[in-house]
């Protein structure tokens, strides 16, 4: 069976064309169009799909090479064979350079069929390769688009997550703020009633109400601190303060509580401690109250010992740090729990656990201590008690304060109460 061939002939001599067609007719089922001028060629190239072009080298209006260039200009990759009566070497070279696939002498058409067959095969291969390449490019572009889309999606998701986190943090901040206002009313009213000499029957009930409201207030503080820690927004204020006074006043409250439980409470503040330091007093107090508070809470008999001393900083030679050690004779903490008690979200379920409150106290303390450049750790023996130790670095500013130089943040008002102490537990 003959293969179909859509042939575009660029030939001015009809008899030459017929000879040529006859030579092809044995092999191909030819449909053809013959053109003589550039205009006709242009139209023909635009109007139909072609399998091959055979062009005379010399035409009255243009040359076969011109025809080739026109075809190339249209980015058509068709087998292009030049036919000529005479052929000089120069013309042949020029034609091949321009992209002609073969050059056949007029009358020597025996070579035309195999040449055309070969070129059609190669054109097919070329087309297939190009199609494959195009597909590859398309595929790659598709992949790139996918990656771009996915990246954009991830970016969006990340932004959404960050926005959600911000919103959560803001919500917690607003909530705890909103909760404090009515709580102010509750505690204030109970306090007022207590001041008005209530009947003996009512006094303990009112006191219980006040205690419960106070617990709620501390819980709100913890939640707010927690949300600040999570969002990295906890701020620290560096102001000069009297260290000894800070330690003593924090211990005082809990010493009272300890003695109520029948515990011995010792406070030992080293003579060498600098008098004035620059740090966040409220945060230090918060950690002290939290850690000492836990010691009191989990000790049923024996003693609580609180010590503060100056030590040289192992990490920075020539610098001192302050070490606080809170020792109790309480229930102790198992080795497993020792790892976990400083973690957020971890509430140890065993009986030795710190189970009251919202379990954030130590996690918050750890963050605060670390933010102030210190460390916190625990040593414990089940049934024998625990010792919590934390350190606080003393920077040069602290020393400067001691030497009576001007303050770094001299603009702050004297604070008469316990503002922003966050009380902890």
């Amino acid at each position: 069976m003959k293969s179909p061939l859509r042939l575009l002939l660029v030939e001015d001599m009809e008899d030459h064309a017929l000879l040529l067609l006859r030579a092809l007719g044995g092999t191909f089922d030819v449909t053809f169009e013959r053109v003589e001028t550039p205009q006709e060629l242009e139209e023909a190239l635009d109007s139909h799909p072609w399998d091959a072009v055979i062009a005379d080298f010399n035409l009255p209006e243009f040359s076969g090479l011109d025809a080739l260039r026109m075809m190339r200009a249209k980015e058509l990759d068709l087998p292009f064979i030049l036919v000529s009566g005479v052929i000089g070497e120069e013309s042949a070279v020029e034609a091949m350079k321009a992209g002609a696939h073969d050059f056949v002498l007029k009358g020597k058409y025996s070579r035309l069929v195999p040449a055309l067959e070969r070129e059609l095969r190669e054109a097919t291969i070329r087309h297939e390769r190009r199609r494959a390449e195009e597909e590859l490019v398309k595929y790659r572009e598709h992949l790139e688009t996918l990656v771009r889309e996915r990246t954009a999606e991830l970016e969006k998701a990340k932004e959404a997550a960050e926005a959600a986190n911000r919103a959560k943090s803001e919500f917690l901040t607003n909530m705890s703020h909103e909760m404090r206002t009515p709580l102010t009313g509750v505690m204030g009213i109970i306090d007022l009633l207590l001041m008005d000499n209530p009947p003996d029957k009512q006094r303990p009930l009112l006191a219980m109400g006040y205690t419960a409201a106070g617990s709620l207030s501390r819980l709100i503080d913890d939640i707010l601190d927690f949300s600040r820690l999570v969002s990295g927004k906890m701020s620290f204020r560096l102001d000069p303060f009297n260290l000894r006074e800070c330690i003593c006043s924090a211990a005082e409250v809990l010493a009272l509580e300890a003695r109520h439980k029948g515990l011995r409470f010792d406070l030992e503040v080293d003579e060498d401690l600098p008098e004035m330091v620059v740090a966040d007093e409220g945060r230090l107090r918060q950690v002290l109250i939290n850690v000492i508070g836990n010691a009191v809470k989990f000790t049923e008999e024996g003693e609580i010992h609180v010590a503060a001393r100056c030590a040289s900083d192992p990490a920075r030679s020539g610098h001192d740090l302050i070490q606080y050690a809170i020792r109790d004779t309480g229930i102790g903490i198992s080795a497993d729990s020792r790892e976990k008690i400083f973690e957020m979200f971890t509430q140890v379920k065993t009986p030795d656990a710190i189970s009251s409150g919202c379990g954030l106290g130590l996690a918050i303390s750890k963050q605060i201590v670390e933010n102030m450049g210190g460390k916190i750790w625990v040593e414990s023996k089940m049934g024998a008690g625990s010792t919590f130790t934390f350190t606080m670095i003393l920077d040069d500013a602290g020393r400067n304060q001691q030497d009576g130089e001007t303050t770094r943040l001299g603009n702050s008002p004297p604070i008469s109460d316990e503002p922003f102490s966050g009380a902890g537990h």
Partner: protein, 138 residues
Amino acid sequence: LSAQFTDEAESSHLPSESDISLLVAEDDKIVRHLLDLIIPKLFPDAVVYLAENGRAGLELFDRHRPRIVLTDINMPVMDGVQMAREIRALKPDTKIIVLTAYHGSEYREQFDEIGIESYLAKPIVFENLFTAIENCRR
């Protein structure tokens, strides 16, 4: 009880030659009322002016010139920061105590700039309130 909570935004005490006159600016009705009850208990001579927002506080201040101003931060119409700033401009030696439910450094810079006597954390511990007012009398 609710009858006592009618909102007059005015003093329930007659002005006298007392050396303690206070303006309380607080938008929460109960807290405002509570302060109106507790301050005279802590300082029987005190004259208290009550305002439910910064604007009302500023007007009362302008009329009565109290020595001490106790103000909430977040209030409608005019907040505590703005009111404190304007009061400082009107009468620089006014003692200002900021009542805050924000236990953080939000607003602190602004108040540091204005220059205030002290911060009082909510929930209010009466002992601290007493100390804060007492310090302003000196």
